[in-house]
Structure formats: structure tokens, C-alpha cells
């Protein structure tokens, strides 16, 4: 199932009108952590609400479908949301719009998959984009992120910035990353970008100057040939800028991941693309070969893009071979083990964010379920004809009919 990360509060009170939005952090009522102006006591029952008031919480966030009675003496800030947002917990951060009462969950402390959307603007227009770009002025999002950063648990292991094109407002975004360096120096920061901005050396120098100890630019390359990549991203000249950007980042010692999304335009040539990356860009830090998330533009272009992973698994295995043989760290994302050749299994990782990850009934009979990516629950999921439960160890029979147990499967 998909976690609802957006919603509308059933009730709110006490917010001043000189500001359109607030960033809110939830705290357990009993939390002894130092209180920040953005902190709200998280209460799920009337009893917890009363305890929060006794503990002098000036702001209270209620998760409940029932009505909450507040003492008339309470004059602090209050937000109430329906019970379906019960996943919210201590340390989580939300953005809240005062007048519309709309909120978005920005950060879940207990999740390994936290990502901040930087902007919806993009200079690519990828045929399979899961987050279709909009040409709107959304610079308020960056301000909200700046406000959120001090509220994020510094022990957070990983954080992703995504878009849109994250480098659309390059200077402001780099300022955010610089703040991450100071506030979250031990957090692995991943930035999803089309990399085209890095064709400009000044931007690469600014990126290097951030100096975050664990910063990675994750950049898509869809082919070894210019026009194929440019068609996929619907931008002429993008391939040249993206590859140039990767070279400039690596020239300055920056960490780079290459991402290849697999669909009917990229998957049939994945062996060649893998070989080309292995030969030309073996110095990148990671290559992710990724199953398609069937949402956004991917649904609109389904007829052009859908390809059953069973039909490209041989080429995928060869691409993985070429890359590993060249010493490149390679992973396969978003594809369940049952559709992958065994040689690829060691590279297949559980990559789908927890809030949109699911399994089908067949998976309940599968011995690999706990080590499997499963499926996206977003959009209009499409399933390979190869999806079937795996039972291990396999008993295989040789020509004389003797059973042998294959190990390591």
C-alpha cells in the first residue's frame, strides 16, 4: 500500500496570519528533548492532549478521527489530522499551509527513504517522468526546506533531494547543501539531477566547494548515442551536456552515480549502454540500472515504453557483467528477483521507497520476499509475466535423474 504523504488537516487554530506556511516538527508528549519553536506535541487521544497541556506544550498536533475537546484556556497552535496519518511519529517534520490547511510530510525519522522535492521545474521532459515537470514559480519550496533542515535528526543516515531538476535554482540549492554539510555532516546526501548544469565549470566548482563529506550526484544516462538519450529526455543537446557534466564532476573528485531507467527505448540497448559506461566512465562511483516506475508520464506513454523485464533480462545480465568486470559498482533497482537471471541477484537491491513499496499475493509463497525489491504501488503498476514465487534451495536433476541441491540460491 502507499502511505499518504499529502493531506488536509481536519482542524487548525492559533497560527498567525503574517506567514502563509509553517514547518512543524512532531514530538512525543513526554519528549525531554530541547523544545524548538516549530515543535508540536503529538497526541492521539484526549488523554494525551491533556497530558500535553499539563506539560506546557504551546503547540499540539492531533492524529485522530474523533473530536478532540480542548480546554478553553489553551490558546496555542493546534493541528488535527485524520487517523490515516497515524504513521506520523516523534521527530517527523511537516510543511503546513495556514489558509488551505494542506500539509505535506517532509521527513519521517524512522524511514530510510526520505527525500525532499526541490522544485517541479525541469529542463528535461523525460518520456517516463514519474514527477512530471511544471513550469511554475515554486521557489517557496526551497525556503521551506531551509526551515526544515535544523529540525532533522542529525543521526539520519540518508537524505535524497529530488525534482524537477534540483539545480534549476542552482545558487539557492547549493546554499541548502552547504547547510547540510554543517548540520548533517554524517548523513549520506544524494542529489537526483540530470547533470546538464554541470557542463558549466563554475557550477561544478561551486558544487565541489560545498565540501560535504558524503555527497553524491545521481545522473541519468540512457544510451551511448546522443539522439537516443535526447529523445528519451526530450531535449536536444542534453546527452552532450550530461556526459560533459559527469566528466567535470569526476575531474574534480566528486562522487557520481549513473542511473539508467529501463523501458522499451533503453532496455533493448542496455548491453551496449553497459559496455559503453564500463569502457568510458568506469570511474563513476555507482551505476544503478532501474526498473520503470509506471506513474506520471510513463502511464501516458505506456504504449511506447512498456517492456516486460523478462524480455530484456539477458541484456541486463550482460550489462551487469561488463560493468562488474570493469570494477564498477553496479546495482539493479526496482526489479523483483523472479524476473532477473541469477547472475544479477547479488546486484539486485531493495530500492523502492518504503512509502510506495508493495508485494502481490504470489510473493507470500516466495522464499526470497524478504530480500526482494517487490513492486511500486504508485501509478498504474504493471507486472511481468515472469512474476512467480521462488522456492529455494532448488532441486535440480541431472541427466541420470539424480537430485543435486544447488547451493547459494
Amino acid at each position: 500500500m502507499t502511505l499518504p504523504l499529502y493531506g488536509t488537516a481536519s482542524h487548525s487554530a492559533g497560527f498567525c496570519s503574517d506567514k502563509a506556511r509553517s514547518v512543524v516538527r512532531l514530538r512525543a508528549v513526554e519528549s525531554s528533548a530541547e523544545r524548538h519553536a516549530a515543535d508540536f506535541a503529538l497526541a492521539r487521544t484526549s488523554v494525551e492532549v491533556l497530558r500535553a497541556i499539563e506539560a506546557n506544550w504551546p503547540s499540539i498536533f492531533v492524529v485522530s478521527d474523533g473530536s478532540i475537546d480542548l480546554p478553553s484556556t489553551f490558546d496555542g497552535r493546534l493541528v488535527a489530522v485524520p487517523l490515516k496519518y497515524n504513521y506520523l511519529g516523534d521527530g517527523d517534520v511537516l510543511g503546513f499551509d495556514h489558509s488551505s490547511k494542506k500539509f505535506r510530510t517532509l521527513f519521517r525519522r524512522n524511514s530510510a527513504h526520505n527525500s525532499f522535492l526541490i522544485t517541479e521545474r525541469c529542463n528535461n521532459y523525460c518520456l517516463m517522468c514519474s514527477q512530471p515537470p511544471k513550469d511554475v514559480d515554486d521557489r517557496w519550496i526551497l525556503s521551506e526546506i531551509k526551515e526544515s533542515l535544523p529540525l532533522i535528526d542529525p543521526a539520519t543516515r540518508a537524505l535524497t533531494f529530488t525534482g524537477g531538476e534540483t539545480l534549476s535554482d542552482c545558487e539557492d540549492f547549493i546554499a541548502v547543501l552547504t547547510e547540510c554539510r554543517d548540520r548533517l555532516p554524517t548523513t549520506a546526501i544524494q542529489v537526483l539531477t540530470n547533470g546538464r548544469a554541470f557542463a558549466n565549470s563554475e557550477i561544478v566548482d561551486a558544487w565541489k566547494a560545498i565540501g560535504h563529506p558524503n555527497l553524491m550526484a545521481a545522473i541519468p544516462v540512457y544510451a551511448s548515442v546522443d539522439h537516443v538519450h535526447d529523445h528519451v529526455v526530450q531535449a536536444k543537446g542534453a546527452f552532450d551536456e550530461t556526459v560533459l557534466g559527469i566528466l567535470k564532476l569526476k575531474d574534480r573528485g566528486q562522487r557520481v552515480e549513473i542511473r539508467v531507467v529501463l523501458h522499451a527505448l533503453t532496455a533493448p540497448i542496455i548491453e551496449e549502454t553497459g559496455r559503453w559506461i564500463a569502457r568510458n566512465l568506469p570511474f563513476v562511483d555507482h551505476v544503478a540500472l532501474m526498473g520503470l516506475e509506471n506513474t506520471g508520464f510513463a502511464i501516458a506513454n505506456d504504449a511506447m515504453l512498456w517492456m516486460d523485464p523478462m524480455d530484456y533480462s539477458d541484456g541486463l545480465a550482460k550489462a551487469v557483467d561488463y560493468l562488474s568486470a570493469a570494477g564498477v559498482n553496479v546495482s539493479v533497482y526496482n526489479l523483483p528477483k523472479c524476473v532477473l537471471p541469477k547472475s544479477v541477484w547479488p546486484h539486485a537491491v531493495q530500492s523502492i521507497s518504503d512509502w510506495k513499496n508493495g508485494f502481490v499475493d504470489e510473493c507470500n509463497r516466495c522464499d526470497e520476499k524478504n530480500n526482494c525489491s517487490g513492486f511500486f504501488t504508485t501509478g498504474r503498476p504493471r507486472f511481468s509475466r515472469g512474476v512467480r514465487a521462488i522456492s529455494s534451495p532448488h532441486h535440480e536433476f541431472d541427466s541420470r535423474g539424480l537430485a543435486s541441491t544447488a547451493s547459494g540460491e
Binding site: A199, S224, F239, V243
Partner: protein, 482 residues
């Protein structure tokens, strides 16, 4: 939602395309082998090649994609194709950043062996005439430490260097007492004189042993006579002892191919396997030990040697297919160049040549040579690669000597006739000493060069296996990977 554009909207017009440099060789009736600037190979038909050269190609026709991915064409206004080639070329030539990493000290010319293929040994017992003096050794060390490389290797050679073991000890101690460089040590010895004292010293100073093993006992002893006729017995015992005391990766062996070896490559390889060695370096016959009667003889000789090499390589691949990892090291070197951009500074496989820039040789008498073969030439009266003397010269005066600059600049494969247009140029090397020895000219006429014939023969063979024998290709790729 905006409309999506069709593939044609992203195609480059022919007039916006430019060719990038490439080399080619005809390999059959209207078949060509083509290599780009960094030596990636593709095969084209004559028709395809003509269309490519005329830029009669367009996105979607298959040839465009092949040529673009192989960096044979670029959009005229694009930068990435050229920058990729530049980055890769820079990586491949990275060995130039470590100037003169190898320093060979000939601590004595005396030897108790009397190998006919050796041009340098003396069986004299006259220590004062053929041993390196401490004064010479220390001056040579000054020169070695003046070289720019941050990590150097000091290799002790002879003669049989263990006949002057006290000088080895003195040089190791003096090198270790100096600061500023990381120093590795190798002793190239026949191991006949290896004893516990030497082994303990090697262990204490992390010294690598490199020895000679020409094959099974009869062949080895025929090639390498010594009093008692027990060279093989002593070498094998030495290898075993060194493996025990120093570790299996601390002793290596090299073979020299003689005419007697040519029919026996399987026996030679089996001998290496039996001694527990992890690979073999199938080396060509050295031109310095054989009379070069005619230039055609050298060429004919290369063909015979290539037959020997191919049988050997196929035997090594058999061994791997049967489950024992075992390498042919020359193939591994070439494959690393053909399949990766890791810088390989192997002295015979680089251009600019490795003479002087890759290694300097300090002879027992203080003369300094650009290569070990250059020293052998001097023993027969040819001083073409004698760069100077430790008493009169500094590192700079040796490296900037007219002799060295002349030999290196006149032999660059990047601009030499036949080499500059050769489809294998990226993976080959200039060998001015060899060509001087065989043709009296550092550059040489390549169609007459056995070096050239061997290089092209081996690379052609490796390409054939990579393209047509998947199981063997997987083994070869592993050799290139590490």
C-alpha cells in the same frame, strides 16, 4: 500536457557531423578492423567504412549508432565526445607522471652460470674488475633518488647479483636510510646461491625474488649450463624455499625462449604449473643473443615464435577452463591496455619509450644505460644507449642527454611511419633499443621488424579470441580486470 516529440526531432543533420581520428586495417575481403583514438576496436565492412568517411550516415541507420558509441564521429558543436577521448587518453598516458620508476643496479658481472644466450656475464673470479664498488653504488643511488618518481623500484642484477651480496646489503641499507621516496627491492637471481642468510635478509627487507626458469630440467639445463649441470635443480629448490619463507607471491620466474624451446611450450608451461607459479611470461627470443643475419630472417623468426606463443596461450586457456587460475602475463599486459585505460608503463609497451624515462641501468663500472638491452649492446661494443657515467653525470644530465632524447623522440609510435596509422598503435610501444640492435636505427622499418610482427600477431590473436570464443574471452577479461 505538452506534446512529446518524435525521435527524428533529436537527430543531427549530416552537415553538423564531424569525423574523429581513427586507424584502420583491412582484415579480409571488404572487412576492416577500426580503432578509435584510445584503441577501442570495431569491425566495419568496406561499404560501412566508405559511408562513415563520407559522413553518409544518419541517426537510426545503425552505422551512426555504432560509430558514435565508438567515438568515430561527433556533432561538430558537441564537446563530450572529445572530452571523453581526452580524459581516457590522459588516463592511458598516466605512466608518464612517474618518471624513471625503475633503477637497475648491476652489482657484479660475475656469474657461475655460462648461458650461451647471455651477452653480459663473466666467469672471472677477479672481484675488483667486475664488481660494483661502494662508491659507484652510492653515486648511483644519488641519481636514483634524484628521479622525480615518488615510488621507485631498485632491481639488483648481474651477472649473478648474489655473488656480490655485501653490496646488495649496503645499497638496501643506504636506500632505506634516505627519505623522500618509497622504495621496493627486487633481486634477479638464478637462486643457485640462495641460502638462509639471503632469505632472512629478503624477508626482513621485504625483497622480491625474480628468477629464471626455462622449462623442464633437460631444456633448462641445456639453456643454462653451470658446473655440475644442476641449474634446474637449484632453481626449483630455490623457488620452493623462497615461497616457504617469503610467501608464494614474493618469488617470480621468467623464461627465455631459445630455438630448443620452440617445440616445447606445453612442457614449459607444465613446469611452471608444477612449481606452483600463478602464471608464465612467454617471452620472445632475444635479438641480442642471436646473430641477425638478415632482416628477413628476423621476420621469419617472428612467425615461428608466434606459433609457439599461440600454442602456449591456448594451453594456458585450457588450464583455466579446467579450473586452475593461471595467467600468461604478456597477454595480461596487452589486454589491460586493450580493455581498460589503466596506465601501463611496462618498458617495452609504451610510447614515449621506456628507455631512461622508465628505467636507468647502473653498470658495475659506473656506466649508466637507458635499458638493460642497451647495456648488452655495449658489451659487444655498441655504446648507442650508454648515457654517461655516475662519476660525471647527474640524473638531469642523463635524462636530458642528446642520446636519450634522440632515441625517444625519433621512435614515437604516435608519429612514426607505419605506427601512426596502425590499428594497434594505442596498445603498442616504441622499442628504440630493439630496432637499433636489429636495424641500426631507433625507429626502424616496421614491416621488417620482428617486434612489430609479434605485436600485431598477438593482438590479432587476442582480438580473435575475445570476439569468437566466449568462454576463453571471459578468462581473458578477468586478466585485464586486475
Amino acid at each position: 500536457m505538452a506534446r512529446f516529440l518524435a525521435p527524428e526531432a533529436f537527430s543531427a543533420a549530416t552537415e553538423d557531423l564531424s569525423l574523429l581520428p581513427f586507424n584502420l586495417e583491412r582484415t579480409g575481403t571488404s572487412q576492416y578492423l577500426v580503432s578509435n583514438m584510445v584503441g577501442d576496436f570495431i569491425r566495419l565492412t568496406e561499404g560501412e567504412l566508405n559511408r562513415l568517411v563520407d559522413l553518409q550516415i544518419q541517426p537510426g541507420d545503425g552505422l551512426y549508432e555504432k560509430a558514435y558509441a565508438a567515438h568515430l564521429v561527433t556533432g561538430t558543436n558537441q564537446k563530450a565526445q572529445r572530452q571523453l577521448l581526452a580524459a581516457r587518453l590522459r588516463s592511458r598516458m598516466g605512466f608518464l607522471q612517474q618518471v624513471t620508476p625503475l633503477h637497475i643496479f648491476v652489482v657484479t658481472l660475475r656469474c657461475e652460470h655460462s648461458c650461451p644466450y647471455c651477452q653480459v656475464s663473466r666467469q672471472s673470479t677477479d672481484r675488483s674488475r667486475f664488481d660494483m664498488s661502494e662508491e659507484t653504488a652510492m653515486r648511483a643511488l644519488d641519481i636514483a633518488f634524484a628521479s622525480p618518481a615518488t615510488r621507485i623500484k631498485i632491481e639488483f642484477q648481474g651477472g649473478e647479483p648474489l655473488l656480490n651480496f655485501p653490496m646488495i646489503k649496503a645499497i638496501v641499507a643506504a636506500a632505506k636510510a634516505r627519505s623522500g621516496k618509497k622504495v621496493d627491492f627486487v633481486i634477479a637471481s638464478n637462486l643457485a646461491l640462495l641460502d638462509d642468510v639471503v632469505l632472512e635478509f629478503c624477508k626482513a627487507n621485504n625483497i622480491l625474488l625474480s628468477t629464471s626458469l626455462d622449462g623442464p630440467a633437460d631444456l633448462h639445463n641445456k639453456n643454462r649450463p653451470r658446473p655440475g649441470g644442476n641449474s634446474h635443480e637449484l632453481a626449483v629448490a630455490g623457488i620452493r624455499r623462497a615461497r616457504e619463507v617469503l610467501g608464494s607471491d614474493r618469488v617470480g620466474a621468467l623464461m627465455t625462449t631459445t630455438e630448443a624451446s620452440l617445440d616445447r611450450v606445453d612442457d614449459i608451461i607444465d613446469e611452471y604449473l608444477q612449481q606452483g607459479l600463478d602464471g608464465i611470461f612467454l617471452r620472445p627470443l632475444s635479438p641480442f643473443g642471436f646473430a641477425i643475419k638478415t632482416k628477413q630472417f628476423a621476420k621469419y623468426d617472428a612467425q615461428k615464435w608466434l606459433g609457439f606463443y599461440e600454442r602456449g596461450l591456448r594451453r594456458v586457456l585450457d588450464i583455466n577452463r579446467q579450473g586452475t587460475p593461471f595467467r600468461e602475463f604478456y597477454a595480461a599486459l596487452l589486454l589491460t591496455r586493450m580493455l581498460s585505460d589503466r596506465p601501463i608503463g611496462y618498458v617495452d609497451l609504451r610510447s614515449p619509450a621506456g628507455a631512461g624515462l622508465g628505467a636507468l641501468v647502473y653498470n658495475y663500472d659506473g656506466s649508466v644505460f637507458a635499458s638493460d638491452e642497451g647495456r648488452m649492446l655495449a658489451e659487444t661494443g655498441d655504446n648507442a644507449f650508454r648515457l654517461g657515467h655516475v662519476d660525471q653525470d647527474s640524473y638531469n644530465s642523463l635524462i636530458l642527454s642528446d642520446k636519450l632524447i634522440g632515441a625517444i623522440s625519433s621512435s614515437l609510435t604516435q608519429c612514426a611511419p607505419e605506427c601512426s596509422t596502425c590499428v594497434y598503435e594505442s596498445h603498442c610501444g616504441a622499442d628504440p633499443v630493439y630496432h637499433h640492435a636489429t636495424q641500426g636505427d631507433a625507429l626502424g622499418i616496421k614491416p621488417l621488424s620482428a617486434f612489430c610482427a609479434r605485436q600485431k600477431g598477438i593482438m590479432g590473436l587476442l582480438l580473435d579470441i575475445l570476439e569468437n570464443s566466449p568462454e576463453d574471452a571471459a578468462i581473458l577479461r578477468r586478466w585485464a580486470a586486475s
